[in-house]
């Protein structure tokens, strides 16, 4: 059951991810965005199978529910007609495949290097309080730095969108 579900969600994630960039049926940016939502949701399914329920819920809440809605918002408002007319180019697919291959090689090498199933002890899986404790003790500094990074991005976005600066 668990294995079957893993393969189902993994296949869905990969397929939807592929459809985001090379959809043969439609070059509509909105369709790509919707496939990205599906990919995110199936990734949440993978997190559930890893017993990382908090991560799964937050994945759907933040990425599928908020970030992608804003993406969709922008895509619809910009009305990307010429984007929809653009054909799939061989050069684009080739460079894409090369970069994906290189990234996959790095990932596989590092995963094999850590001896999966033996090396790292899983932390913060399961209940939310455990995850919270780890974030606020062991990983406090990276956590805070990340929040500052997000704050900087927010201030930057507001600054850029302002037309006249006083």
């Amino acid at each position: 059951m668990q294995d079957a579900l893993f393969y189902l969600f993994a296949a869905l994630t990969l397929l939807c991810g592929l459809m985001v960039v090379v959809n043969p049926l439609s070059r509509n940016p909105v369709t790509s965005a919707m496939f990205l939502v599906l990919a995110i949701v199936s990734m949440a399914g993978l997190f559930v199978l890893l017993h990382a329920f908090f991560l799964a819920a937050v994945q759907i809440l933040v990425y599928a529910g908020a970030v992608m809605v804003l993406f969709l918002f922008v895509v619809m408002l910009l009305d990307l007609k010429e984007e929809a007319r653009r054909k799939i180019k061989v050069f684009g697919i080739a460079t894409g495949l090369v970069s994906v291959g290189a990234f996959a090689a790095v990932m596989v090498a590092s995963i094999v290097g850590t001896h999966p199933g033996k090396g790292l002890i899983p932390q913060g899986e399961g209940t939310t309080p455990v995850l919270g404790k780890i974030l606020f003790t062991q990983y406090l500094l990276p956590f805070e730095i990340l929040s500052v990074l997000l704050l900087v991005a927010m201030v930057g976005a507001i600054l850029l969108s302002k037309k006249d600066l006083k």
Partner: protein, 349 residues
């Protein structure tokens, strides 16, 4: 029942889960949707000094059935200029999240040996917020699929509105979970047993949650995505027959699930503070009584939803955004801080 003992635990789990899902959706949620439409029409008629539907059956009680039949037999018209795939997808996408939310809500204590919740997740509330946030796609895609300006404006409005109020809603419940110390909704109800309802401890939270629920379900005074006077009918302008009815059902199903959330978070769920009704039931009647109490509380909150709709005028869009971002979010943040300070002082003693 002897045949139950022959089943393995997995089979029993599957059997009872399926039973609970079918019962919760088809015996409780859908009839409630149908009859809240009737209640809405009756109450609006009462408020506006009209009679309301009274032709089908005594007091019009078969009106929902007639309406449903009408939706099915009407011509399902697809305009020429729409984007077909999304036009078909959107009504389903708006109804499914409304049903999925039911999964984590504890609608009773025990019936026999079965816990009356479909999935007792330890991140229950986050699951709910995740699913609720997916509900916006139905409306946005409906607006996009229609490929004409009024539905599109309605869709855009609703996405901005729902994202804004989701933030306020999410922040408003944080103090609740600071007090309870768990994200599991059954634990929230345990905490409130004995009459310690969180609406008394966190009235600010409740108020923000209530108003945000109005905005999330696109109800008056915040029904700007469909505001008839300026947008013709908003995101569902191009829809007819059963597809339109699905949007309609989604709105009411969302109202019911958000009422259920409010009952669970702030009004003690299936408990009542007297007569020993705040302890998990051991008998079958007790279990049924708890389900009845839960449904009764939902009906009361649905009454509030309907009553407010016919009492308040619609907000302007800038007023809506102003209220969400510049009033509710700061107040919700202050509420979190205040709760934290109080909890810290209590812990220091």
């Amino acid at each position: 029942m002897p045949f139950l003992e022959h089943l393995s635990p997995t089979q029993q789990f599957l059997l009872f889960s399926t039973l609970k899902i079918v019962a919760a959706i088809f015996l409780v949620l859908l009839p409630m949707v149908a009859y809240s439409v009737l209640a809405e029409r009756k109450i609006s008629a009462f408020i506006q000094d009209r009679v309301g539907p009274n032709r089908v059956g005594p007091f019009g009680i078969w009106q929902p059935l007639a309406d449903g039949l009408k939706s099915f037999v009407k011509e399902d018209f697809t305009p020429d200029h729409v984007r077909k795939v999304y036009f078909w997808l959107a009504p389903a996408l708006s109804l499914i999240p409304a049903f999925l939310t039911v999964a984590v809500i504890p609608f009773g204590s025990f019936l026999g040996k079965q816990k009356m919740v479909i999935a007792d997740l330890n991140v229950g509330i986050l699951y709910t917020f995740g699913i609720v946030s997916l509900g916006v796609y139905g409306i946005v895609l409906a607006g996009y699929a229609a490929n004409s300006k009024y539905p599109f404006l309605g869709g855009i409005r609703s996405s901005a509105q729902m994202i804004s109020y989701e933030i306020a809603m999410g922040m408003s419940v944080i103090p609740v979970f600071m007090l309870v110390g768990d994200l599991n909704l059954s634990q929230v109800i345990n905490y409130q047993s004995g009459g310690a309802w969180l609406v008394f401890k966190q009235p600010v939270s409740f108020f923000i949650f209530l108003v945000a629920a109005f905005a999330e379900t696109n109800r008056l005074p915040f029904d700007l995505p469909e505001s008839e006077t300026e947008l013709v009918g908003g995101y569902h302008t191009e829809y007819s027959s059963m597809k339109f009815a699905l949007f309609f059902m989604a709105e009411y199903a969302n109202m019911i699930t958000s009422s259920a959330m409010m009952v669970t978070l702030f009004f003690g769920g299936w408990t009542l503070p007297f007569g020993g009704l705040d302890q998990p039931a051991s008998t079958l009647t007790g279990g049924l009584l708890h389900i009845g109490i839960f449904l009764g509380k939902i009906v009361a909150l649905m009454g509030v939803f309907i009553w407010v709709r016919w009492m308040l005028p619609r907000f302007r869009y800038d007023q809506l955004m102003d209220l969400g971002w510049r009033r509710f979010i700061p107040v919700a943040l202050a509420n979190i801080l205040a709760t934290a300070v109080v909890l810290w002082l209590q812990g220091a003693k």
